[in-house]
Every structure is written in structure tokens, then in C-alpha cells.
Amino acid sequence: MPNMSLKKHEMPSQAPEVRNKNFLEVALGYSAETAIEEAKRCLNCKHKPCIGGCPVRIHIPEFIAKVAEGAFEEAYQIIQKTSSLPAVCGRVCPQETQCEQKCVRGIKGEPVAIGRLERFVADWHNANSCDLPVKAEPNGRKVAVVGSGPAGLTCAGDLAKRGYDVTVFEALHLAGGVLVYGIPEFRLPKSIVQKEIDNLKALGVKVETNMVIGRVLSIDELMSEYGFEAVFIGSGAGLPRFMNIPGENLKSVYSANEFLTRVNLMKAYQENSHTPVLHAEKVAVVGGGNVAMDAARCAKRLGAKEVYIVYRRSEKELPARAEEVEHAKEEGIVFKFLTNPTAILEGENGSVAGMTCVEMELGEPDASGRRRPVEKAGSEFTLECDCVIMAIGTSPNPLIKNTTKGLETQKWGGIIADEHGLTSREGVYAGGDAVTGAATVILAMGAGKTAAEAIDAYIQSKN
């Protein structure tokens, strides 16, 4: 008999006033009992619309049925067939607009907590299973993956499962891309990312860190000298944008990428870290996406008394996930909506003394369909702060484009690829933020998966 409760089972989490002082994970995950109870809410319906909502097409009702039986390892094996990073996806996917949005139970009441169940199953496997994954029979064909973020890791995992000899090239000293430098520990513990990467290595994926493709090796060299038959570019969109307003190069102005890299990748929040980060009193974060929420919540945890989110549109237009906004508010982040910075003011010896802002009002919808913010005349005011973090977006790094002949890109730098990820160069595929510009982790994974299928078909056709 299914559990007909209209509500999802709550996931225990740290209290806001406790968690905003530490970097430990906020959400604590289901217990086995809660997971089984929640799994029983799934009706195992005929049409399985949830699968259609998942970019990597996990066999959702099938794995949930195993959870309901308490067969957690079997549930993991089902997920693992189609997803390479379930412990990550279960945590950072916006399920409310994907699998859970399509869930039949959501029509009347709350949908089944698919993300929480996926997370539970992956964590259970990582904690309890010693089974090594079954390596595919090697087919002797080599594929290179540039970038070890969600797109690259997914593509690499899928190709390894098909028997390819896959090498992932990463520019930083740690693999994971935005999962290690961008998303903070309290949302996605780095040990979990590491575990997922170890799982991929166990499948036979090789990871070469400290390799900046475009400088140390070109795409052409990978294909001609090193014998890679195809290359997947998943180099992301890591180039930060600035507003180009006065004072932006003052010394306590960060891009969100820099601030988050210091905090997450270099662990500057830890007492004994050799990488410094400013511990400011009053921090203004400019922007309204998930990155802005992450930066603000990190700043709070570093001890800031006041942290502001400064966003030029209204609460309704915030691009961040509702859950992240909710968490930020609970932790004491102050939102300044319809506010736009015009200049950053210089204090002592090049530091920040404040930020001049103007109030905005919403006008007609623009090309993106959102109402365009218009400056309110005479509304200028000064926001007192001693640190500013710019989280207004990123674009693809031009390094690969500049060093790969014949690789066509959009005017704004995105690599042009068809629906299978194929670029203008034979054998060269691309996906994730490198193609779309800054988007979501799961879209990047979906693109990595699609490209892996296309690369497989391409190499098979060459025989």
C-alpha cells in the first residue's frame, strides 16, 4: 500500500543560527527509515513522467521501489546506470523544475522527494558498499575530456562505461570544476565530490590535473600527437564579469569566483589555511543568482555582521533557487531589491568605504521576458560596506577558442555545438557552460551525457 501522505518527509537540517557560523552541511539527509517511508509515497505510475523531467533519464520509479524494499545497493546500481554523480545531483539539482515538477503526486500535495531519495541512496552506497564497479571491456579507443566539471565528469563516466580509454584534463590542482571551487562545503561537502570522482577513477577514467589545455597542449596536439580520436570540451564559463563602475578595482572588491575559490577550493575559511581571505564586517554581494547566495552565505560564515544581497530587480525575478533564497534569509542575509550600484567608494589606503546605489523600478519586459529595471530619478543613496562581491555572471574563457583553429564560437564566446554536442570541428564535441554560458550543474551533466552518446556513435562509425 503506498503512503498517501500529501507532504514530503522533512529532511533534518542544522538550525539557521547554528549553521551560519560553520561550514558543515546544512541539510543532514534522510535516515533509512525515513527514506523507506518516503519511497512508499511513489505510486510507480504507468507513464513515469518524472523520468522525462530528469536530464540524465534516471529510472526513478525503479530505484525508488528498491528503496521502499530497503534494497539500497540495488537502488544505487539502477541510478548508476544512467547517472555518474548521484550524490552531487541529489543535492544541487533544482528538482522543483525537473523530475519532481513532473511527479503525479505533486498534482495534489507535494511530489515525491526524488532528490532526497537519490541523495540518500548515493550516500548509503558511499558509506556502506565496498563493491568495486564492474569495468567495461576496453575497446582500445581513446577520448580526451577537457575540464573536470559536471559536464566533463559525466561524459567521461559514460564513455568509460562503454569501454573507452578516457583521460580528463583539468587546469586546477583538484578535479570537480564548480563542484569544488564554486559550490560551498555547506551545500556540497568536498569529500562527497571526491568520492564521486574516485568512483569514476575506479571505472578506469584517468584524471590529469594542472593541465591548462590551450597553453600546455592544444586540442590539435591531443588529437594528432596523443592519439585521442575525439575530444569533449567541458571547460565551463569561468570568466567573471564586472560592472565597469568606478572603484571596482579597489582592494576589497572580489569577483564571486575569486571569493568562492579562496573559500572553497583553497579552504581559506579554515584557521590553518595558507590562503588568505578578507573577513569583512559589512559585505555587499551584487547579483541574485545561486552564486550570489553562495557568496553571501560564505561571507556570513566568515563572521560578517551584515551581509546584503543587492539585486536590481524584485524578489520575483531572482534567478536563484527558491530554497537557496529561503536558506539565505533564515541565516540573516539582508535583501536589497530594486537596487543597483553606481560606484564603489574608496576608504583608507584603497579599501572599500561604501557603495553608491540607486533605486530601480520595473518597466516593460525585455528580450529575456523579464521586466526591465529602470533607474528612479534622484534616488541615489550610500550603502555602508567594507567589502563588495560581484556575482553578476560569467562567460566562457577564451583560451581554448583562441588556440583551436576552426572552432566556431558565438560572439559572446560560447562554443557553437549542435544538439548532439558536435562543434564545427570533426571529432570535437562540447557541452555545458562552455556552450550555453553559465547555467546549471544538471544541464551540464545532460550535455555531457548526450555528447558521450554522440562520440560513441562517431567513433563506431569510423571503423
Binding site: A171, H173, M211, V216, L239, K251, E258, H274, P276, L399
Partner: protein, 280 residues
């Protein structure tokens, strides 16, 4: 892991290391840099490629012991390993087509200026080098510079080595003596590069400086190394590190460089205690 094949003390605060890094050695050019991390807990610091041997697959770095990380690095011996060593990064110096060049090196900046002078010499340019140090004990690479220079002026603040005076004094004398340079390349402390640029501006000589702001990734993803050149924001790690010396906002760079002064002081003291060694 990257093995240290050779370690040599050039002066009491400057050390040379030859590192086994074949991928970097294959592609490195003068003006480019690497980022290294001494150990698992280490920060990422940029250091310029001082030399490379493509055959042997080695890269030479020369660093001044100024803080915690450089002390930790200096504590490693031949045969030991550096955790991470990534590069080559940045744009190579543009030296092709130059006929007559003055290369100015200040202090440990000489380690960065030297490969540029060497490359110019190899390309057949007339190289006049001016190298400056605080005192005799701090002189590095004098022999190397003499080998690749048509004229080499050694300067010291206190007159204990070469002539007494600043590099700008020597450069001014060379210009006044009628030397016409296609370009002046100045590499050293920010203040030195600023004053060389102010001097050459008077004579309208194109001047290139090599910037060394704070960096983390070195691949253009954070903007920590940004600076203002001709009123526009540039990232030193991808657009540079070389820039037109007459267009750089030096005062802004000096302010940004002081961002972590307090933290760096603590790190230095901690490393000093750890290794029981005083850093000048």
C-alpha cells in the same frame, strides 16, 4: 608531483630551483609564468619561468624568500617534490623584430628579465642591460646578463657593486649618450617600473613592464590579478603579465598588493618559527 632536480642559493634571500616538469618545459617562452603549490595545504603562488630546457624537460624558477610560502618552498631540498606546478601561463613577451633594446632588471626581477634578454640576444638584437640591487650581497645573474648583453650596467643603492645609484640613473645616461632603443623592457619592483616608465615617457620610448599582482588560479577565472591599463580593466594572468608601461595605473597596483598584508605577516612569522630562520 614535480621533482626538484637542482637547488642553488643565488644570494641569502634568492634561490634557484630546476624542476622536472616536461609538459611546461615543452611550451614555455620568456615572459610566461607558472603557478605552484608547495604541499597539500599550500596556497597557489605565481613565479616566472626563469629558464627552461626542452630536451631535459626542466623548468627553472628563481624566487625571493619573502613570506610563508616562499620559506616553505625554500625548505625543500634537491630530490624532494613540489605538489603542484602548472603552466606555462600568461602571454609570452613579444620580442620578435626588435633591433635594439634596453632590458632593466631590479632585484629578483632580474630573474624574469634575464630570459627576455637571452631570447633577444639569440634573435640577434643589440641588448643593453641595466641591473640594479640594494647592495653587493644581493646581486644575482650578473655573469648570465653579461653573456647576453652588448652593454651591461650593474647598479647598487649603496655603491658596493658596480656603480652607485638607481637603474633609472644608468638608463638615463645611456639614453643621453645617444642610444636609440626600439623598446625598453623593465622588470622589478612596481615602484621601479613606475619610475622607469616616467623616465622613458619623457623620451617617448616604448616601454614594456611585467606585472606581478596577487593571483590564485592564473587562468583568467577570478580577476584577482586585475589592473587598469589605459583606463580599461585587464587580467594580468591572461592579458599579461606584460603591459605598456606608460598606460599602467601603478598606484592602484600598489594598493591592491597590500590587501593581505596582515595575514602575510602572520604567515611569515609562523614559517620563521617553524624553520627557525629569520627572513630579511
Amino acid at each position: 608531483m614535480y621533482k626538484i632536480l637542482k637547488k642553488r642559493e643565488l644570494n641569502p634571500t634568492v634561490t634557484l630551483m630546476e624542476v622536472d616538469a616536461s609538459f611546461v618545459a615543452r611550451k614555455a617562452e620568456p615572459g610566461q609564468f607558472i603557478i605552484l603549490r608547495v604541499d597539500e595545504e599550500g596556497e597557489r603562488i605565481p613565479l616566472t619561468v626563469a629558464d627552461y630546457d626542452r630536451e631535459k624537460g626542466t623548468v627553472t624558477i628563481i624566487f625571493q624568500i619573502v613570506g610563508g610560502t616562499t620559506q616553505r618552498l625554500n625548505h625543500l631540498s634537491e630530490g624532494e617534490y613540489i605538489q603542484d606546478f602548472v603552466g606555462p601561463l600568461g602571454e609570452p613577451s613579444h620580442v620578435e623584430g626588435l633591433k635594439k633594446v634596453a632590458v632593466i632588471g631590479g632585484g629578483v626581477g632580474c630573474a624574469i628579465a634575464y630570459p627576455v634578454a637571452k631570447k633577444l640576444h639569440e634573435l640577434g638584437a643589440e641588448v643593453h642591460s641595466v641591473i640594479g640591487f640594494r647592495c653587493k650581497d644581493l646581486v644575482i645573474l650578473e655573469e648570465e646578463f653579461r653573456k647576453v648583453s652588448d652593454v651591461c650596467k650593474l647598479m647598487s643603492d649603496d655603491g658596493t657593486a658596480g656603480e652607485k645609484g638607481l637603474v633609472t640613473d644608468a638608463l638615463k645616461a645611456l639614453i643621453e649618450a645617444g642610444n636609440q632603443y626600439d623598446e625598453v623592457i623593465a622588470i622589478g619592483p612596481v615602484v621601479m617600473m613606475k619610475f622607469v616608465s616616467l623616465l622613458t615617457k619623457q623620451y617617448n620610448i616604448k616601454t614594456v613592464v611585467s606585472m606581478n599582482p596577487i593571483m590564485i588560479d592564473g587562468t583568467g577565472m577570478c580577476g584577482c590579478c586585475r589592473l587598469t591599463v589605459a583606463g580599461k580593466t585587464k587580467f594580468a594572468c591572461v592579458d599579461g603579465p606584460d603591459f605598456d608601461g606608460h598606460e599602467v595605473d601603478y598606484d592602484e597596483i600598489l594598493k591592491r598588493a597590500s590587501t593581505y598584508k596582515e595575514f602575510e605577516k602572520r604567515e611569515r612569522e609562523e614559517a620563521c618559527n617553524l624553520f627557525r630562520k629569520e627572513v630579511k
